[in-house]
Symmetry: C2
Subunit: 156 residues, 2 copies
């Protein structure tokens, strides 16, 4: 009986959402890893035309914000506002865009983008506009700037 119970406990433990999170391959391919906040993995979209971060709650099988437990929802909001405020200041953004779309990638992820009247897509949204211009690589000074910015946001 003891062995059976242990197996049951192990199975339940592994079934918890935080145990089985893995980043969607499409997000992994399109971004640089900046670090982990208490809830979210912070990623830099590999498109140097826009200061464009993506936050992914490290929870499995979540597509919508309202599917998260309430405590996670509040933590997500804290991380969104911390990152958004930090980017607004760092880039002197004219407007921040915050969006959970996910029509193409089913894993919940939140775009946080600093916008400028002079940017390529203004005043429209940025998705699907023009051609991506990748950073040189993850040692690109522009990428390093985002790593520094994220290290100054709480929870690193």
């Amino acid at each position: 009986m003891r062995a059976a119970n242990s197996w049951t406990a192990l199975f339940q433990f592994q079934d918890l959402n935080f145990m089985s999170f893995s980043l969607h391959p499409r997000l992994d391919a399109d971004t640089f890893l900046l670090g982990d906040l208490p809830l979210c993995r912070a990623l830099l979209m590999n498109d140097s035309r826009f200061p464009w971060l993506v936050l992914v709650p490290r929870r499995a099988d979540i597509r919508e914000i309202h599917q998260l437990p309430e405590t996670d929802q509040f933590q997500l909001l804290r991380e969104i506002t911390q990152v958004s405020a930090a980017m607004e200041t760092a880039f002197s953004a004219e407007k921040m865009n915050v969006a959970a779309l996910g029509n193409m990638v089913p894993q919940l992820h939140i775009h946080i983008i600093a916008r400028f009247e002079a940017d390529e897509a203004w005043p429209g949204p940025i998705w699907g506009v023009g051609q991506t211009i990748p950073y040189a690589d993850e040692t690109d000074p522009a990428v390093m700037r985002f790593k520094t910015l994220m290290s100054n946001v709480g929870g690193q």
Copy 2:
């Protein structure tokens, strides 16, 4: 002195954000009023191609979520998730899109849109796609359906 203090008090009262909220004329022109939640005015975008609601916190001079006091941020999140979950169920949506963009209208407003693989813009975002198809008027049964839906979301 008493009169002067009264005037000061009155001025301060009128200066509070919730006293001076007024809906941006562009949002007013493009939507039907559905009702007020505890924090937000709920609006239906007048484009029958998409189930598309807009929530506007009734606070003056706010452009970004992170500019709201924390209690308002949490209430905004509650209202977003309540409306988003209600729309997902009511329309059997394949995906909900939630976004604060505001590049054109500087008053903070959150788009909540039920998306379908068969809709005109899928899998891209809906903004700026094709031509708007307005509802007949505010007595259109489709508009009334949204009013009923919103009356079932808390706080009416």
